[in-house]
Symmetry: D2
Amino acid sequence: MNTHRMVINEATCSQFQMSSYFHFITPSGKSSVVQAPPYHYGADFITVYFKSDPEKLQYFLPEPLKVADGSAVAYVSDFVCTISEKDPNAPFEDPAQATYREAAVGVKCTYRGNPGVYYPFMWVDRDWSLVRGWSLGYPKKLADDIHMTRLHKYIPKVPYYGVGTKLSGYCARHGSRILNVSLNITRKGTAKDLISSPSVYAQRYFPANMEGQKSVNELVEIQKGNAQLGDEIWYGEGKVEFYESRNEEVTRIDPVEPLYGLSYQFGFTNYGSKVLEQNIKN
Amino acid sequence: MNTHRMVINEATCSQFQMSSYFHFITPSGKSSVVQAPPYHYGADFITVYFKSDPEKLQYFLPEPLKVADGSAVAYVSDFVCTISEKDPNAPFEDPAQATYREAAVGVKCTYRGNPGVYYPFMWVDRDWSLVRGWSLGYPKKLADDIHMTRLHKYIPKVPYYGVGTKLSGYCARHGSRILNVSLNITRKGTAKDLISSPSVYAQRYFPANMEGQKSVNELVEIQKGNAQLGDEIWYGEGKVEFYESRNEEVTRIDPVEPLYGLSYQFGFTNYGSKVLEQNIKN
Amino acid sequence: MNTHRMVINEATCSQFQMSSYFHFITPSGKSSVVQAPPYHYGADFITVYFKSDPEKLQYFLPEPLKVADGSAVAYVSDFVCTISEKDPNAPFEDPAQATYREAAVGVKCTYRGNPGVYYPFMWVDRDWSLVRGWSLGYPKKLADDIHMTRLHKYIPKVPYYGVGTKLSGYCARHGSRILNVSLNITRKGTAKDLISSPSVYAQRYFPANMEGQKSVNELVEIQKGNAQLGDEIWYGEGKVEFYESRNEEVTRIDPVEPLYGLSYQFGFTNYGSKVLEQNIKN
Amino acid sequence: MNTHRMVINEATCSQFQMSSYFHFITPSGKSSVVQAPPYHYGADFITVYFKSDPEKLQYFLPEPLKVADGSAVAYVSDFVCTISEKDPNAPFEDPAQATYREAAVGVKCTYRGNPGVYYPFMWVDRDWSLVRGWSLGYPKKLADDIHMTRLHKYIPKVPYYGVGTKLSGYCARHGSRILNVSLNITRKGTAKDLISSPSVYAQRYFPANMEGQKSVNELVEIQKGNAQLGDEIWYGEGKVEFYESRNEEVTRIDPVEPLYGLSYQFGFTNYGSKVLEQNIKN
């Protein structure tokens, strides 16, 4: 293995030295679609917690993950700023490398008794976000379009975040709406309103298409850190809608019963992925 | 004329009743690409003031506007939230109708002795922003892509706005970079650092292509109000770069001498456009 | 009026000399989003003829157009190549200026007894196509995405045009599917299968937003010529589907009864628009 | 390994049965971004052969590939129609899954004495094309925009393919032009004008980011078949231009000496990738 491309812990990442984490694979690393982790993130979320039939959710979990009580989450988010630690100047030097939008659906589950969340569906709008995600184990596809309500402190006649404010977000792909979330704010929220998961489980996967090829198929736990929740949390009535599309299957988890929704800002780091199992089965 | 489509002053706009301000023109107005003004805006700017040869700037001014002292401005901006007053629910019900990005170049000038600014070049990324702009007199074209540095309070290891922070933005069209602005923050700014223009001059224009057609060609003054500057103003070294492109001519104003740059948030309203002259000449 | 910008007949267009037909309005015309007509077009169509309730169709016609027998048409198309006659090198020098996709719905109607077609809905994917269209009288909005089946003579295992081949196309905007057409080819078609309209009626429109402004609101007849139908015409079972969207109202003409569909190639010229009536009412 | 996901030879692909070749990985395979090979392609190319300094080209070749005589190729192409053999209805049922555009640069080389071509740079405009490419070993990144001259038989006043016709194509990413090719047709071409490569070498790659993870790093030979060249081949003066961009390094192979260019249509199949070496070094 090309060990000089591996990032074993945070310490090894501090040289701010590029190499090719992925295509284009060159000695300089300059044209790699993205650098290796750690990845740092600062994002704004419209999140709705909901319940669905546990059996329907189990369908999307790789073995040996077990569905929890039918709890799940959908969000549309604006990853306002994100970097690879090895490429800290991207927000200034290449803004298209440092901001993206994401929509996702997550399922509460356990791995050998340890509670966590697994995201069967994730859509983003940048290629480097696909690559980062896949290498960590996130199941990303490219959206045509992800949009959400954005408010501004200084626009006349449009209220900023507060009781009564309504927010929504959507994701579309191949010319079809896939997912809507919406939130009608009823009160200020607190950190306790966030349903946090001790672990995030995911599946690193790279397929073989001929005999003799290696492949990757690993159940992993994303190594997270630096979690920081913004002060402005808003709580309210939430709504989730899924739509049929030929290359999607999120409607399999309908009907859903929304619990409530949140608007918040969140910062965190993904350091890499710890392997739990090899050659798992979906 | 279809007077029910005209908006004469703010009072007439308060019914929150849609009609067709532009195509698709239907009795209900539901599918009009955008509603009539007033338009409200809340935006984040990376702005660089610069000087160029006054004669080169005069080239882009319609008669009888006169170039000032060669002062000009370029910005890349995120119009985080904007509405037509008649469609106040768009940010929630149709987020793609309520946010866009814009890059522009403006020239200091006078109209019969009255100082103001005229924007010969403006690029945006939404069709309804084109229509709103044109009907007010702004010269908008559609960018492939407008991107700018976006910072987030909660991302680890990426500093938020402050001394030493660097910001940039760009606009591309037809596969070519057209314009770059960048800012290296050196100090906190104040409202006095903004070079405000008493008037914004513009050109309402709709062409005829056969005898017997009406056309529109009016020098106007945009009717602005509700200006509100955000508290967070940042001042620093600015840079502007223009690039050649087959369907652009912004490089005609090169070379430019940058003065300084600003990062700030701004809210305002455009009520419509007051006609100054008819059938002007470019 | 700026008469040097007017194109009265084809003869005046032969100098291949640019001027500003629309923004950006400059002496050179180099950065005009598009040049004046004539416009030449070569396009591939998936077209479905259908019937709807005449009263529902009449709703979308400006006065004094009268709906015909409820006949209508929907198409998704690939405008493979198009130019302004004044900018004949665009396909080579600026490919993004010379190709676009379009979806539309048209209604059979009469103007003072003279039969024709009027298109209440048209979506495209390029700004210069919006401007050309509007200046001629076509009601264009920008799609997120227009896609259609594209076949290739040399791909293995995918049949080319022929009996049994299926084609489809769609248009999406603001993250929602708006329109689908599909065709199941049952036989070779002929020129007689095309339902041609002697006239194309349209509405040139530019709004006023304050007293003193001029506006444009003209019922026009598009001046067409050089029609050339390709040899390869395919006929079959057609299907049309319209979808709800907040800023669209094409579903008002549901239910529709499809008649049949066609696949064909077509070339033509638009010279400009002849005014029929001023200050019409929708 | 999940052997039911492997495709060992063409025979195993004939069931037209979907499974998850890549994310989203589900039991049904319905939402997999793409199905396993074989992949069939029908594409239109603007191709320019050129020479560069062999040492500069060697820089981009993984070991043990050896640069040939400095011969290389750049193209911009329209993959008009393509399918996974397991998803043959995509062109009709989901047109966004069956057409894309691609630009690339290839380098003539040898693998242990066997001549072939290796593509260090490839840009496309669809996520499923990224995934297909990577799993075969192609180094794909997502372009903002790939455009090329498209001609149409029936457009008035624009000549179709023939002597004197000029064609061009470009690729842009992150708001910057990366690559231009152009062709000035001087004569009809023949199959002999195509510089064919006995083998296409590529690099299957999936990175590890923590100890314990598997990774993939294989030098492979793409298994090609069903090559069919279209009748219409056009030969002429070619030109290639590369541009600087922060996340690209194609300009490293400047200066280039163009040899000639071609316009042609080509159909072919990729069955998968045969492993030549494991754990190679770039």
